[in-house]
């Protein structure tokens, strides 16, 4: 195939927003190319640059090897089908289609057969003298296509031409467009944000995002081998998971290792893993790779879409007690002393040592003049292995003493037997200064509260996905604050031809070839 159009490093900026960030793209003869992306990704801008309605800031555009940046729109061998058709309301169907030929001053005896042939091609015979403003959207669309194609351009640009049509008509026009393209053998460049449209019609799909081409490939390549999470998300309906590539052919996600067919990643490289909903099979509980529960089932026409939860979210809320600093000052001995209340697990009482109590209460004695630390010489307490509050007193050699309160508690955790998940966390006692000085408060809260979640069956740790609290660590005042540790649930979309029962306990199964591993998207 011959190369028809080349974009070389196209950059375009509007009001300090860079819309195209160096686009390089080759388009060949007789191709149906789709520029796919959400609105604002630059696809229409690229099309308008090719059409000659916008000038790029940098880069070159070649058609048939010739640079065309200085060729005005009306001289380019390109015609466009506009989003809102832009038919001339003062002309009938025939005259709309004949418009380009008349501008070129083609003899009348040539215009008539050409226009009639084109009107027939788009299936509008008998409508030649209709008023275009009184036609349906689909018919106007056909007129717009005929009006562009009659000029026999090298390329036909289509700027979201189907977006104004209803679903049924859109499907019909998709097939029509494909047929027309094959019949006339002209390169079509089609812009859309509709992935289904792109997959149906294109020979080649160009996925764009934020002015950058993400992936170029055939519909099958784009669907089966998306290059990154963005493309996978955009094309089709996928389960996308965070994972880690342990080694070639072995990927870990959702805290388990799976065999896969992917290789060539760095060891332990963080990756995105996708599993298409139609590649997952639903088996009775325990028979597959991941157990879960069917949350909901939706009928989608040819298949059922089930949402299966393999891990329910669990959460545990604790109280963060924020206290003012209670430094004890011993004027005579020129000494200051400090300690805070704390909470401890009943199981830990038996093995208590003085050193540990000093550490847990953060007990310190020092000379306020030179900040020199003084040793704590005596630790006295009546802590018992029974839930309750007990006094704990520290004394220094100079006779300064401070008493704090120790809260002994039963190990408290939320247990969810159905979901086989446990989560534990303790109340935290901290001074205002300690909170304000924290560099990463949610990490510190996890440590202080000893927050931990695990699988009740396998005892394996489950990541705490979120720490939720409603205070600003920089301006916190004395008081009690709730802090919630959350593990998020994991759900999989599964497409099956049989209807699944809601609430049924099931197992999900998939093979190594159903797992597709992608590099994480580069930042920026």
């Amino acid at each position: 195939m011959k190369k028809l159009i080349e974009f070389r490093n196209i950059v375009k900026q509007f009001d300090n927003t860079v819309v195209l960030k160096g686009i390089n793209l080759d388009i060949y003869e007789n191709e149906f190319v789709t520029l796919l992306g959400p609105s604002g990704c630059g696809k229409t801008t690229l099309l308008r640059i090719l059409g000659g309605f916008l000038a790029q800031d940098q880069g070159e555009v070649y058609i048939n090897g010739e640079e065309i940046s200085n060729v005005p729109a009306y001289q380019r061998p390109i015609n466009t089908v506009f989003q809102r058709y832009a038919l001339f309301p003062h002309l009938d169907v025939f005259e709309n289609v004949a418009f380009g030929l008349r501008i070129k001053k083609m003899p009348e005896n040539l215009i008539k057969p050409k226009v009639e042939r084109m009107i027939a091609l788009v299936g509008l015979e008998g409508y030649e003298h209709r008023d275009v403003t009184l036609m349906s959207g689909g018919q106007q669309q056909r007129v717009a296509i005929a009006r562009a194609l009659v000029n026999e351009p090298d390329v036909l640009l289509l700027d979201e031409p189907l977006s104004a049509l209803d679903r049924k008509l859109r499907t019909e026009m998709q097939q029509e467009l494909k047929r027309i393209q094959q019949e006339v053998g002209i390169t079509f460049i089609f812009v859309t944000h509709d992935q289904e449209e792109a997959l149906t019609m294109s020979d080649k799909i160009v996925v764009m995002r934020d002015g950058i081409i993400q992936q170029i490939g055939t519909p099958t390549e784009i669907y089966n081998e998306p290059k990154n999470r963005y493309v996978a998300n955009f094309i089709g309906n996928s389960n996308i998971l965070d994972g880690e590539m342990k080694k070639d052919y072995l990927v870990s996600f959702d805290d388990k290792d799976y065999e896969c067919v992917d290789f060539g990643f760095k060891e332990n490289e963080p990756v995105d893993v996708i599993i298409r909903p139609e590649d997952i099979r639903i088996l009775p509980k325990g028979k597959g790779k991941l157990n879960g529960q069917v949350l909901s089932v939706l009928f989608k026409g040819v298949h059922y879409e089930s949402i299966v939860e393999t891990r329910r979210g669990a959460s545990k809320t604790i109280t963060l007690h924020v206290m003012d600093d209670r430094d004890v000052v011993n004027e005579a001995g020129n000494e200051k002393m400090h300690a805070t209340d704390f909470t401890m697990d009943i199981e830990d009482v038996a093995s208590l040592t003085s050193e540990e109590l000093i550490a847990r209460a953060n007990a310190q004695a020092w000379n306020p003049d030179n900040e020199e630390d003084h040793p704590i010489t005596s630790v006295s307490h009546e802590i018992q292995a029974k839930p309750g509050k007990y006094p704990l007193t520290f004394k220094s050699a100079k006779g300064t003493e401070i008493t704090v309160s120790v809260n002994v508690v039963e190990p408290k955790f939320v247990e969810d037997k159905d979901n086989e998940i446990g989560i534990q966390a303790f109340d935290v006692y901290k001074s205002v200064d300690e909170i304000r000085e924290s560099m990463a408060i949610s990490v510190d809260l996890r440590t202080w509260a000893d927050a931990y979640a695990w699988d009740l069956e396998t005892e394996e740790e489950i990541a705490i996905d979120d720490v939720r609290f409603d205070f600003d660590a920089n301006t916190i005042e004395e008081g009690d604050y709730p802090v919630t540790f959350v593990t998020e649930g994991r759900v999989y979309k599964v497409h099956t031809t049989e209807k699944q029962e809601e609430d049924a306990l099931v197992s999900l199964d998939f093979g190594p070839e159903d797992i597709h591993v992608m590099h994480k998207e580069e930042q920026g």
Partner: protein, 258 residues
């Protein structure tokens, strides 16, 4: 829907009292001679015969039509470029320019015409030229606004499409913009030609007594001579001539066709 019809009643009463009844009176007067009483009508075509048998009246009518026609043509040629230029500006500037065009219309037309009389007094222009200046000055804003409205309603994508189909800017204007602004021109013509053909105080003030138009004629017969019957007949003749000319312009307006 039906409930809303009642909202029309006040207007219907207004129209009935101040338009339909006077029009009927004009018709009655036109087809009768003086000396009618409540009980006796003497129907006659004499008023019309008098008008058409006197070449002076015919030439006055002709002069009126010519004046209105030329005024309208000047307004189109002066107004179109202005309207086109305004429609190309940024939306904010467009509103500003439309305001500037409209501002003179805030002042009473009579007052403005008196002002023109003062301005033109010292010049050596012919009465005819003075009348044209006054007419164009007074009616131009209507033409500009109508053309501007039709141009601003035009989908700018149509020009992009014309460009795409091989038109340079000149061709795109001739093939797309101009034909699409015809409805605006037509309604501009309606708004300029109709009042222009029947205007009487502009010719009277600016042309002096020497420039007699149909409007002056009617005024003369109603106000000065007191021959209401003949005045009514002339009014009726002019109404018919105007209706015919409007029918003619509608013919060129594709958008009015079904």
């Amino acid at each position: 829907m039906k409930g809303f019809r009642r909202l029309l009643y006040p207007y219907a009463v207004w129209v009935g009292a101040f338009i339909v009844v006077p029009m009927l009176l004009v018709m009655i007067y036109a087809f009768t001679t003086s000396g009618n009483s409540v009980l006796t009508f003497r129907l006659t075509l004499a008023n019309f015969a008098r008008f058409f048998s006197d070449s002076i009246f015919i030439s006055v009518l002709w002069r009126s039509l010519k004046l209105a026609f030329i005024t309208t043509v000047i307004c189109i040629f002066l107004g179109y470029p202005v309207a086109y230029a305004i429609s190309r500006l940024k939306p904010g500037s467009q509103a500003m320019m439309v305001l500037l065009v409209t501002i003179p219309m805030w002042i009473n037309m009579l007052v403005r015409t008196y002002a023109w009389r003062g301005i033109l007094l010292e010049t050596n222009l012919s009465p005819e030229a003075k009348v044209y200046i006054g007419m164009v000055y007074n009616f131009l804003p209507f033409m500009i606004l109508e053309i501007y409205t039709s141009l601003s309603k035009m989908d700018p994508n149509l020009l992009v499409a014309a460009n795409d189909l091989g038109c340079d800017n000149r061709k795109a204007f001739l093939k797309v913009t101009l034909p699409l602004s015809v409805p605006g021109i037509i309604s501009g013509i309606t708004l300029v030609f109709l009042p222009a053909v029947s205007s009487f105080f502009i010719p009277k003030l600016l042309g002096g007594g020497s420039f007699v138009l149909v409007g002056n004629l009617i005024e003369n017969y109603f106000v000065t001579t007191g021959d209401w019957n003949f005045g009514a007949a002339i009014s009726l003749i002019m109404t018919i001539v105007v209706l015919l000319s409007m029918r003619l312009t509608k013919h060129f307006d594709y958008s009015q066709e079904d």
